[in-house]
Structure formats: C-alpha cells, structure tokens
Amino acid sequence: MSNGGGLNKIVESLQKNQYYFILAVIAVLFLIPSVSSRYYIFLVGLALIYSIWALGFNILFGYTGLLSFGHAAYLGIGAYTVALLMNKLGIMSYEVLLLASIASSLVISMAVGFLCVRYTEVYFALLTLAFGEFFFAITYKLYDLTGGSDGMSVLYPTFLGQQMNLTSLYYVIVIIFIVSTYVGWRIVNSPFGKTLQAIREDPVKAEFAGIPVKRYQWYSFIVSGIYSGLAGALYAPLFAHVVPDLFHWTTSGEVLFLTLIGGYRFFLGPVFGAVIYAFLRSYITAYTIYWPLILGLSVMIIALGFPDGVIGSIIRFISKRISRR
C-alpha cells in the first residue's frame, strides 16, 4: 500500500503545518490580483462568494440537518438590497450597503425561518422552496420597483470614501471570506454548533436532553440566511447586475450541488465545492449550451452514488486505505 502511505504522509504533514497552509492560501488569495487577468480575479471572487454562501447553507444543511431548497432567496435579497438602495436612494457607501444587506436578510430569514422550522425533512424542503419562489415571482411582478425581468444594474460602490473597482472589490470579498470562514468555524465548534449537531443526529433525543430544538433550528436558519445575504451583497457589484433568476430554484439547487460536490460532512467541504463549481461552470458554459442537463445529471449521479460528496468520498476512500494499512 505504498500509495496509501504516501497520502497518509501528505495528510499528516498538512495537519502538522495547518497554520502555514492557511497562511499560504491567504497569501495566494491576496496575490492573485497582481499576477492574473481580470477574468481570473472575477472567477476567484465568484468562487469565494459561492464559498461564503455555501458555508452558511451548510450550517443549516450539514450541521443542523435541514435541507433548504430556497436558499437562493437570501442571496437574492442581499443582492437586491444593494441594487435597490443604490438605484432608488442613491446610497453608494459599501459599508452601509453591506450592513443593510445583513439587516434585510436577517429580517426575512427570521420571518420565513419561523414558519419553516416548524417542519422537518421533506416538508421543510417543500416550504423553503415555495417561499423561495415567492420572492422570484414578486421581483418579476413589481416591475416599477425591481425592473422586472430586466433586473437592475449595479455600479461599483465606494468603500471608506474611495471609489471601488474590481480589484478593491476583490480584496473586500477576500477579507469577508476569511472573516466569515473563521466565524463559521468558531460557530460550528462552539456549544451552539455542537447543539445543532446534536439536533441533526437525533432531534427527539435532543429535545429530551432539554434542548429547545425548534428555537435552535430557527437560529441556525437565521445565521445561514445572513451568510447568504452577505454573499448576495458581494455578488451584486461583482456581476454589476441583478436579475430575478437569482431567486430561482435552480440557483437554490446550485448551492446544494456545490455543497455536495465538496461534501457537507466536514467544515471546508463547501469551500472546495464552491471553487470547483465556479471554475467548472465557467468552462462548461463556455463550450456547451447543455449546462442544465449536465448539472442535472451530475446531481443525480451524486444522489445515487456519492452520499458523502465527491471530495468526501475521496477522503473516505483515502482514510479507509490508511486504516487498512
């Protein structure tokens, strides 16, 4: 088993030097704008936004065991908050816009979450999906406010009084990514996070252990909604445009899909998934118009054959080989 031994060494050295590894990744992220083209700055920025969104999604899905099929709603609300405040009220300060997105996604996820966490499993998925489509339909309908299917254009905002551009927006994305990853890590390892995992493993036992299950599920929903709203607030200026499709269930499916590529059973899984997905999608859509077909088939294959996600399955395979040795 020379192969397994080699992998084992890699895993071990990664664990031993994890702080160096993290520092190296952060350094690479900060160096990207000075060495790569605008296209890759955009793509890495997008991957990081997906990561923030998926980390939030996974707090609800992977750590609390609730599968939301409407998580596009909070991404869309974050993005539309930025677009609306910018276009209707002329607010250009990104500090204000980011805070407003957090506030709006907080309020909406509190309201929707309050209704949805009364249910679990299939009912929860059904309800989150229905509420998600509600926002999709309403942005279509309120043409005067949201521009209907045309959407709204979004300019680069100002940050600390300075006009932003792609590079400075990218740095803001990187910083928010690092902070939200760290905060997420602290959350899932806190007593709160452990409580969520206890609920995931067995809600009935958790209830008997004195945990107010519904309330914790609600908190988890809200945290997850705020992450999504924040991702949306970063998404809007990066794409310079918001459209109702942001709210569509295929967008909700994307976050589920990329979380599953990466694997939802370990913390950074969604981040790996997000990076793979962002690059894969950008290459595949450049060559084929059959993206939904490919996406759908991949989702089906994962559902049937890779319950731990692609990365998760690989890691499990490796650790099996290691332990066999």
């Binding site: 599968l67 099929f69 209704l115 998925a125 229905a130 309403i138 759908g296 989702v299 559902a303 049937l304």
Partner: protein, 292 residues
Amino acid sequence: MSALIPIFLLNGIYYAALLFLISAGLTLIFSVARILNLAHGALFMLGAYIASIFLMYNDIRIIILGFVLAPLTIGLVSVAIERGLVKWIYNREQEYQLLLTYGLSLVISDIVRITFGTQPISVTGLVNSMGGVDILGYTFPAYNLVVIVAAVVVGIVLGVFLERTRLGWIIRACSLDSEMSSALGINVNLIFAFTFFLGGLLAGLGGALILPPTVAMPGMDVNALIESFIVIVIGGLGSIRGAFIGSLIVGLIRSFGIYLFPEYELAFLYIIMAAVLLIRPRGLFGKEYRRV
C-alpha cells in the same frame, strides 16, 4: 362586480380542476412511496409538450388520441423513473431522494428545451372551435367547462378506485405501512410502480388539458410544482381529499385575487398558506406527519 361573480367562480373552479390533477398525482406518490417528486412539474410540462404534437392538427380524432397518448406516455416515463432510479434510494435519507428528483427535473426540462425549443407553443384551434357558453350574459369558454367536468370525473374515479376496489385497498394499505403490507404478501414494488404510473398519468393529463387555452413554455414546470406545493400545504400532504379542497381554495383565491388586488394576488396566496401553517400545521386534511 357582483354580476361577474359567477364568472370568477367558474374561472377559479377551472383553475382548481387543473391544480387538482397535478397535485393529486404528487400527493398520491408521496403517500404511498414517501417520495416528494420534485420532477412532477417537469413531467407535467413534458405532458403538455407531447400533447402539443397531436393538438396542432385540426382532426378531432388526432386530438383525442393526443389526450390519451400524452398521459399514457408520461405514466410510462414515470414508471421508468421509478424502476430505473427512485427504486434505489427508498432506504436513503430524504435529502438524496429530493436531490435525485431535483436533478431529474433539470434533466427533463432541459431535454424539453432541446427538443422543442424555447419559443412558447400554442394550439388555440380546439378552444376556438368549441366556442363559448352563455352564463348570465357572460361568455365562458366551453373548453374550460369540459376541463372542469373531466377533473371532477377523474376525482370521483380516483376516489372510488381507492376506496372501493381491491387494488385501491392495497394501495392504501401500502401508504399506511408498506413493510407490513409486504409481510402480508403484497408485492410492494409493483404497487409503488403502479402508483408512479398513476401519478404520471395525472400529471400528463393535466399538462395535456392546460395546453389549449394557454401555451407550453419553459418555466411552466416550476410554476406548476410550486402551486401544487401550496395546494398540498393547505390541504395536507398525502391526502387526495386535501388536494381537492386545497385546489379549490387556491383556484378561487387566484381567480378573485387577480380581480380584487392584481398586484398582491400572489402574496395573498402565500399569506393564506402561512396562516394554515400557523393554525393547522399538518394542513386541513393531513394526517399527523411521522417518520415511517
């Protein structure tokens, strides 16, 4: 306004008739196989597109053939899905079941897009040639009345089938406890496949019937799915009677809502749904939901 009430009533019932066909299939499959089929909307859409092949002819025989063949085809596609894919994940967590049918829904709707294009397909010949019926001075399309009658007939046949026939009893037994039914010698696999066939049949029929007055277009799958979700939430998951009442409520709200507050008609629908959720979480006719 008051003179228009009969028309709104009829419109609402017509709308409810279509919703009932779609949501009855969805709820039937859920109650027996415990699968929330997210591809149900896509099957409905596929039914509409397949019907459009036949309905563009002016020959009544071909049109009738379309109304028979489209539901049958969808029923068979639905069985193929059950035997080929869903069968493998009955014992898995519900996340994977949802994921599989979600992926399937993307695949089916993209195949429809590739085959039929993205332009809306319209076949208005049938509705026009059937003309209208005068009701209190207003004209109501005769075709819509036929749809209402068809849905009522389907509802009655379905009810009698489930309540009065041997096969219906077996299906209900499986929905209560499939393991016990299997222990009693019932071929549960066959019943699951048959339920998927019935569900597909209903979705296909709904798709074929909705086509003449409207159009077949991308996006109709998700709309149908979401609206049948609302119906199911209001009526209760897994209950045909719930699907019937839920469809009526949603159909009438839409029909009157569009007239009374056109901007907020949809929001109103969701408020009703939220109210049902808060007051009676399992839906009007739903049984206490439990993990089986």
